[in-house]
């Protein structure tokens, strides 16, 4: 790859000049395969992995090396929570070039509502058409679209979006403006298609200003009854939107003859009269969500009567998908919520109930409260709520009842699961206890590592990709449109209540999820350093705040830290941890003292953030290393019990292979372990750097 190209790639990465996409397309257009392959190699070496990996795959695809492209993309996808639609389209193209229908359809199923770009969906649609599915794992559904406008872009997006619901749509579309003809003619092509779903794609242009809204609703209801009579289909009727701008301007809101008012009247009337075989698809709401101003491209309307601009089409498809999900019985039944930094701001085990933010005046607190409110509203509609939190039970329960602004109460949950085991196995246990499928669960957790682990171990659970900012939580969850049902009945609310009544705690044994592969997948790096002045403040802070993972609860003071650092009889260390998802900073402190041939661990405490990641195993390795270095043959650890640390560390030393040699009247215990110079303890999952 010549230097020109590397310079241009470097500039693209920095955000200047032509983008990586444009560069690749240009090179592809010129069939410059060597340059593309070299570019791919350069990107893999030099670009940050989140960008470099997928773009290297894209470049390889453009270079015609589709097997390589697919391999890299699939590897990248393992970790991507919400992969960009553009990249999914490139992957789809490569699968298609390889003639792999399963690959194409599997990739199409990964398109998601958190990236609703149109062009990639166009590419995916072409691939789906070129390689029809074998039908395996997909359900065929006959859908008819009767539109009063040209629905090409919408059809494409619907076909693509349906794949994620496991649906292969057999789409029949009426010719332009044939809606009434197809419904009213007894032997029309519509009826020969024998549709299971009929979509009546209408817009405000089908309404007449000045004429009675009720009368116009009548006309639609009559068309429904003909359809219901002549087919077995479920009818999906658009709600009516309104024109953007009109001569009446602000007065339209008060003028009952304006299209704005008539649309509202017609919608209300249709909603009242829709029988159970007619579902209203909220076209109006889709326009509102996307933005009415750009929903219709005026030029495209005049050229070809397209009422839905290509950019807007995926948004409308999502409305259809929400209804199809309910129609095909795939509505999710339970929302599983994390607690710390999800339901409230802050970590209750560290800052106590008083340090949490829920509700005003905290900006972050209001966002968390909004998530609670949304969840509460779901519960009122019969959706089950559960908590899955890494906390001591007491700490997790404390805010409910104590915090003023909590919207959710303990009674709202059918399961309140606290503990330190990996979440996926706990969620599997919930599924068995409540007799629900994992595929009916939605998982919300602010921690990307937890989400990644859940996706890996329980792919059937819908894990919501949350943004880093809590203000985006409600929208992220809402985009999934996971909980919509066709109707809400009194039974739904009652069912939720009966689940709550049956809530129990059990001690069922389950196969432990493979923790080792979880730890390895985190790609953790620890930086271990002695006590240095720059860290003293943080050490004191952590000593003061650590309650749960704290063996002796020694609240080190500044002066003590300085003395320990200077003392030759002591070996002290701090540990900083980072992983694939971020940097946790200084998270562990250990103070040891050399007493003859015995190395005594006087203090060992760790931040809650990094519990259950094998960091304590690394601490043991350090104990061995220090002991060998100082000529000690025995490790001695002390555990001083407190209310807060009992659950987590009362038997930590036992788990680390120590033997309990003494139990004192106050409940404290002393443990010992021999150091084996031939086989010192190690932690294979965390790479160590010395600071």
């Amino acid at each position: 790859m010549n230097t020109d190209h590397t310079d241009v790639l470097r500039t693209a990465l920095a955000g200047g000049g032509p983008s990586l996409r444009d560069l690749g397309r240009r090179l592809a257009g010129g069939s410059e395969r060597e340059a593309l392959a070299a570019g791919a190699a350069w990107l893999e070496e030099n670009a940050p992995p989140r960008l470099g990996q997928p773009f290297a795959a894209a470049f390889l695809g453009w270079a015609g090396r589709h097997a390589d492209a697919v391999e890299r993309y699939e590897r990248w996808l393992e970790d991507e929570e919400a992969p960009e639609a553009w990249h999914l389209a490139q992957l789809c193209r490569s699968w298609r070039k390889l003639g792999d229908a399963a690959g194409v359809w599997r990739t199409a199923a990964r398109l998601h509502p958190w990236d609703l770009a149109f062009e990639p969906r166009q590419v995916v649609a072409q691939c789906l058409k070129a390689l029809p599915s074998s039908g395996e794992g997909l359900k065929r559904l006959r859908v008819a679209i009767l539109g009063t406008f040209t629905t090409t872009s919408v059809e494409l997006c619907l076909k693509v979006a349906a794949v994620r619901l496991g649906l292969d749509l057999d789409l029949w579309v009426a010719d332009f403006d044939q809606l009434r003809a197809q419904i009213l003619q007894p032997d029309s092509a519509l009826y020969r298609h024998d549709p299971q779903v009929v979509i009546l794609a209408t817009t405000w242009r089908d309404l007449r200003p000045g004429a009675s809204g009720e009368g116009q609703a009548d006309e639609w209801a009559q068309l429904w009854s003909v359809l219901l009579d002549r087919t077995r289909a479920q009818v999906l009727q658009h709600t009516f939107d309104r024109p953007v701008g009109s001569p009446g301007g602000h007065l339209d809101a008060r003028d009952p003859g304006s299209l704005r008012s008539i649309a509202a009247e017609v919608n209300a009337s249709l909603a009242r009269r829709a029988p159970s075989r007619v579902t209203l698809v909220d076209y109006e709401q889709a326009v509102y969500r996307f933005g009415a101003d750009t929903w219709t491209d005026a030029r495209q309307w005049y050229w070809a009567k397209e009422a839905v601009a290509p950019g807007a089409a995926p948004w409308l498809a999502e409305e259809y998908v929400a209804v199809l999900r309910a129609l095909t019985g795939q509505t999710k039944k339970m929302l599983i919520l994390d607690l710390d930094n999800t339901m409230w701001g802050g970590i209750v085990g560290e800052v106590g109930v008083g340090g949490l933010s829920v509700g005003p005046p905290s900006v972050e607190g209001e966002a968390h409260q909004a998530l609670q409110r949304y969840s509460k509203a779901l519960a009122a509609r019969g959706i089950l709520l559960a908590v899955c939190s890494k906390n001591n039970r007491e700490d997790a329960l404390a805010p409910f009842g104590a915090l003023h602004d909590m919207v959710l109460g303990l009674d709202d949950f059918v399961s309140f699961d606290t503990g330190w085991d990996p979440k996926p196995q706990r969620v599997k246990r919930m599924a068995l206890t409540l007799n629900l499928g994992l595929d009916s669960f939605v998982f919300v957790d602010d921690n990307p590592a937890e989400r990644a682990f859940m996706r890996r171990e329980c792919p059937q659970v819908l894990t919501i990709p949350l943004p880093a900012d809590a203000s985006g939580y409600v929208e992220a969850l809402d985009r999934a449109r996971a909980f919509e049902v066709l109707s809400v009945s009194a039974e739904d609310a009652a069912r939720a209540a009966s689940y709550r009544a049956e809530r129990e705690r059990e001690d069922l044994k389950f196969t432990v999820t493979d923790s080792a592969s979880y730890y390895a997948s985190l790609e953790m790096v620890a930086t271990i350093s002695p006590f240095v002045p720059a860290d003293h403040l943080r050490i004191v802070q952590l000593a003061g705040r650590s309650n749960q993972f704290n063996l002796t609860t020694w609240r080190l003071a500044q002066a003590e830290v300085e003395q320990l650092a200077a003392s030759s009889a002591h070996a002290c260390l701090t540990l900083r941890l980072r992983d694939r998802f971020g940097d946790y900073g200084l998270v562990l402190v250990m103070v040891t003292e050399v007493k003859g041939t015995c190395l005594e661990i006087g203090a060992l405490f760790m931040s809650c953030r990094v519990i259950a990641r094998s960091v304590e195993q690394l601490a043991l390795a350090e104990m061995d290393r220090i002991a060998l270095d100082r000529g000690c043959t025995t490790l001695r650890g002390l555990y001083l019990p407190t209310k807060k640390n009992r659950e987590l560390v009362s038997d930590l030393y036992g788990r680390l292979g120590f033997e309990r040699i003494e139990e004192r009247p106050d409940g404290s215990t002393v443990w010992e372990r021999t150091v084996d110079p031939e086989m010192p303890a190690t932690n294979p999952w965390i790479r160590v750097e010395r600071g």
Partner: protein, 78 residues
Amino acid sequence: MNASARLQQVFREVFDDDEIVVTDTTTAKDIPDWDSLAHISLIVAVEGEFGIRFLGPEVAGLKNVGELRQLVERHLAR
């Protein structure tokens, strides 16, 4: 890449066919999937590729790809 080459790239992407070769004399009759709806996708894609915007009447009278290319070049020259 000159305008002709870039136009060809757009055609290949819109019609999803890497083998398409367009010249100034290519018309809608030469490409099977080129119907009125594909025509709109094409126009929109061409606009996107070159960062230009056509007027309705400009597009209505195009007879072949050569005229399209000339139209594009006129817009780029502005």
